[in-house]
């Protein structure tokens, strides 16, 4: 039953060029930094990254923007990282904007076996362009395809040796949703206990988790800072 622990480098060595990857976090809060840094070291290219934000300049997912490893980014808010706009303007990165609630629900649905759903969000706006629109209860609704990915990289504050996870404060955000929607799910965890003091505390059951990484603080530096460049 127990899940395997690997180093971040071993984990991301599974990820081929061109892979589609869900990455947890809201801004830098709840992002799996060690896995992102390992992806940078691996130099994996032409990635499609689905995450609420694409980090900040040189921080979080921003290090993969600087290293030119992202071919396409799917997000609700790119504006926290001006380097995303610059990469797009140079023709290096394709961007797809999705309203945050639609993005979250598409991932939830994807992990729950629902291929598409209707939502009133974005009806009558430019983000409904190219989507089928139907009236329900007198309200215009937009058809949205669900989202799944080859991999999910998530972060959880606490784990047991079996891969059961719990989250801390607003670090939870997209992480439990993405745990359900990745083909291979890699969890970066801060603390590992033998077992939770109560099974009621488990937020993500271990069945979703394929492999885990213990977060390490390199040189005592705050991992939020990413790679100084």
């Amino acid at each position: 039953m127990s899940v395997t622990f690997e180093t971040a480098d071993e984990c991301v060595s599974r990820i081929p060029d061109g892979a589609t990857i869900l990455v947890g976090g809201f801004g830098l809060c709840g992002q799996p930094y060690e896995l992102i840094k390992a992806l940078q070291r691996a130099g994996t290219r032409d990635l499609t990254i689905i995450s609420n934000n694409i980090g900040e300049p040189g921080r979080g997912l921003g290090i993969l923007v600087r290293s030119g490893q992202i071919a396409k980014a799917v997000s609700s808010f790119f504006s926290t990282n001006k380097e995303v706009l610059a990469a797009h303007d140079r023709g290096e990165m394709e961007l797809e904007l999705i309203p945050q609630g639609t993005l979250a629900e598409a991932i939830r649905a994807g992990g729950a076996g629902i291929p598409a759903f209707y939502t009133p969000t974005a009806a009558g706006t430019r983000l409904a362009d190219g989507h089928e629109v139907t009236m329900f209860d007198g309200k215009e609704c937009v058809l949205q395809r669900s989202i799944t990915a080859d991999f999910a990289l998530i972060y959880a504050r606490n784990a047991d040796q079996y891969g059961n996870l719990s989250y801390f404060k607003t670090e939870r955000n997209f992480n439990p949703l993405m745990a359900t929607a990745g083909g291979t799910v890699i969890a970066e965890v801060e603390h590992v206990v033998d077992s939770f003091s109560s099974p009621e505390l488990v937020a993500t059951p271990s069945l979703f988790i394929d492999v885990m990484v213990r977060k390490t603080l390199e040189n005592g530096l705050d991992p939020v800072q990413g790679e100084a460049q």
Binding site: F26, G27, L28, C29, G30, N52, S76, F77, F78, S79, T80, V84, L85, H88, D89, L95, L97, I98, P99, Q100, G101, T102, A104, E105, I107, R108, T119, P120, T121, A122, A123, G124, T125, R126, L127, E140, R157, Y167, F168, K169, T170, E171, R172, N173, F174, N175, P176, L177, V224
Partner: protein, 217 residues
């Protein structure tokens, strides 16, 4: 901008937040959007019994005490540190937006680029540039029971933001209910925009001169 300009801008933003806080009613669950709305917990009166929701998965928070250590694991929609209250709860992003679209949130306070006479809101995209950010604005406009727009009266270049008809792409089909700027507060009644009150030191003539959006007095 000089440091003095920064102080002036911050003062204007806080005055808008203060006036907006007075629109919130006891017992309401209030979502705070990015920008000026996230200043509101700093200017709430002690006797106001309002609960705040943030899209990133928290209900029940307040402004960080001045002497408190910021906790990077507890942030608001503007990614600034906040602190827990006794009744705080946490949840994932799909649950958070389920609350929003499911009409469980009483009020959303949002910023905007433009608003117009029909109550329409443009807050996410400048044409001719790549589509860079929408966040939760479209979900909040569609789902919140009451929408309050809190924004500066003019753009950074001095251009009007209260216009006859939005020229920027709309955020939703749904109109706002209340609009607060540093010059005045408006509300929509029977499909028309009505001036509720003027800020201290602002005359009606001055307001009209900076407000292409028609309104009743």
């Amino acid at each position: 901008m000089t440091a003095a300009d920064d102080v002036l801008v911050e003062d204007v933003r806080l005055r808008i937040a203060e006036r907006t806080a007075r629109e919130l009613r006891d017992g309401e669950l209030v979502n705070l959007g990015v920008g000026i709305p996230t200043l509101i917990p700093r200017v709430m009166r002690d006797d106001q019994a309002v609960t705040f929701h943030s899209e990133n998965g928290v209900i029940g928070f307040e402004a960080l005490d001045e002497d408190a250590e910021p906790d990077p694991s507890l942030i608001n929609a503007s990614k600034q540190p906040i602190q827990e209250q006794e009744h705080t709860s946490y949840f994932d992003s799909a649950s958070s937006f389920g609350m929003i679209r499911g009409r469980h949130i009483d009020v959303a306070v949002l910023g905007a680029f433009q608003v117009d006479e029909a109550g329409m809101v443009a807050s996410w995209h400048i044409p001719g540039r790549p589509m860079m950010g929408v966040g939760g604005a479209m979900d909040l406009l569609v789902g919140a029971r009451r929408v309050i727009i809190a924004m500066t009266h003019l753009g950074p270049d001095g251009s009007p933001k209260l216009v006859a008809r939005c020229t920027l792409p709309l955020t939703a089909n749904r109109p706002f209910d209340v609009l607060v700027t540093e010059k005045a507060t408006f509300e929509r009644r029977d499909g028309r925009i009505v001036l509720k009150d003027l800020a201290q030191g602002v005359s009606l003539d001055e307001l009209r001169a900076s407000t292409p959006m028609a309104f009743d007095v």
